[in-house]
Amino acid sequence: MLAKSWRVIAPVQKDRASASEEFIFSEITGGDISVALSYPATILPPKEFLLPPHEILFEYEGDAAKASDASKILIFGLSLEDLEGVFRLDQIFSRPVADEAYKKRRANTILVAIDRFSPPKHIPFDLYLMKVSEKQFVGYAGSHEGQKILKSSLFKNQTVRIPTVKKTSDPLLSDKDLLRAIEKSKKHKVWDELAETCFGCGICSYVCPLCYCFETHDEIDFGESENLCGKRCRTWDSCMLKHFAETTHHNFRPELRDRIYNWYFHKFVRMPREYGFPGCVDCNRCVIYCPAKINYRKVLEEVLADYKKLNRRKK
């Protein structure tokens, strides 16, 4: 029913034949695909639809350039963490200068979240489905579009007891010393140790809901037109990659150690200063997919503990 008005994206099992335990957000086109209502974090976060891995910023033919269209999509089944990730990405791409390409996609996106927690007060959504039992969901509309879905035949009016289930904030990520600890840790041995095990592959950036660095490049279309046709595109990048800060004559961050530090610095120092929140929603994707089994929580805990120890000694 939803697919009539939107391209519907929902979590599905990556490979049903092999009974894979991995899930992905995928476009639902036919009736044969079973949408997961309860699933572990998908491989890629929903950012892949708002800031696609390869995106056309504008197309041109001869003299005329036009911004590319964004189709109307509905992302179904976001967890509260992924919803929070989108909410933060929205703010990043609207301040201090708004990115039109992102804004356009986002304006054409409907978010339907599902989680066991009570609906969040500070995060906007179109529809929030609170799972109250195995087969029962309580729907909350957060927008006009959400209201429309809620009023459709998909939902029944019923009286149920709704518990209040609050998501507690993560004590590590909300530790008030974390920002200072990371900021002051440039010389900490942990970055040298990480550089010994990290492959510098950038997978942690790709799977992160809040890594958004990018490259741009031009593509030329060789078609029928007599005019030069092509597009300027944006693709995902990662600050972990060696050439990330390289200009034609100098690489400003050639050492892996410094690139690793910059990754943490961005998430836990630069982003909180710029936007008031860390670049992490604790979805654990970077831990699951890191080929070197690096766990950012252990890194943060070590740096934070050493910072606190040093501060105690100073007092």
Binding site: L57, F58, Y60, D63, A65, K66, A67, I92, F93, S94, P96, V97, A98, D99, E100, A101, K103, K186, Y212, C213, F214, E215, T216, H217, D218, I220, L228, G230, R232, D237, C239, F244, A245, E246, T247, T248, H249, H250, F252, R253, N262, F265, H266, V269, R270, R273
Partner: protein, 271 residues
Amino acid sequence: MRTHNWIPRKAKIAERRSLTENIVGLRLKFTAGRPFSFHPGQFVMLSVLGFGEIPIGITTSPAEKGFFEVAVSSIGMVSQKICSLSVGDEVGVNGPFGNGFPLSKIKGKDVVLLAGGFGLAPLRSLIHLVQKDKKMFKSLKILSGARNPKFLLYRDEYKDWEKFAEVYLTVDEGDSTWKGCVGNITKLFDRINVDAGSVIIVCGPPPMFKPIINRYAGKRVAESDLLLLLERRMKCGIGKCQHCTCGKLYVCLDGPVFSYDQLKYNDEAFR
């Protein structure tokens, strides 16, 4: 709220001249639309469709109406393409971006410009502004160094500049025509008097910064009055792509003009 839609404005190359064997100066005029307003020291993202977009400093002042100029060094794929264009060809322009020089802060002061090679290009926007408003600074000294005489930018303009500024030049290696100073730009320091309370503005390769900082910062010149221009890789100009970050600063938003006290404890600034 400022927005960025990525589609560049079209500008025509009105004039083109070789500044050195691999640096080209272009005068650009927008083909349509609103007048272009910018601060000296800002930069644009310059592009050629099918090739890509690169950050390039503006080299003329806002007092010059109807056009602006840039200097492009032919080293990467996009810059090589831009340098190969002819008068009448079109380029794309996004921007202006960045903070530019803090004019209200430096007005009425003794100003010393220190340029290393290509670094003279963005400083020229300030020189051209003074050319129109000669009372803008109490005094202006221009110190410019290059690898050899052929790499000195805007040589045909120095005579005009000498009407309102003291111009000092040096080259690492002289040739048969060169009668001026030979040696590093630090050699020129001994020839000038930097009065207390002066403002020094530096643009050039990063190794140039240290001797200047050591000699002047917090001594004859306040740390907040020593201004340094940084150059980084950039893909957006709006503080998103992350390529130009230096610790907590963005060169595209907070810079490219920084005061030394802003960068003093920033490990990533002086690489």
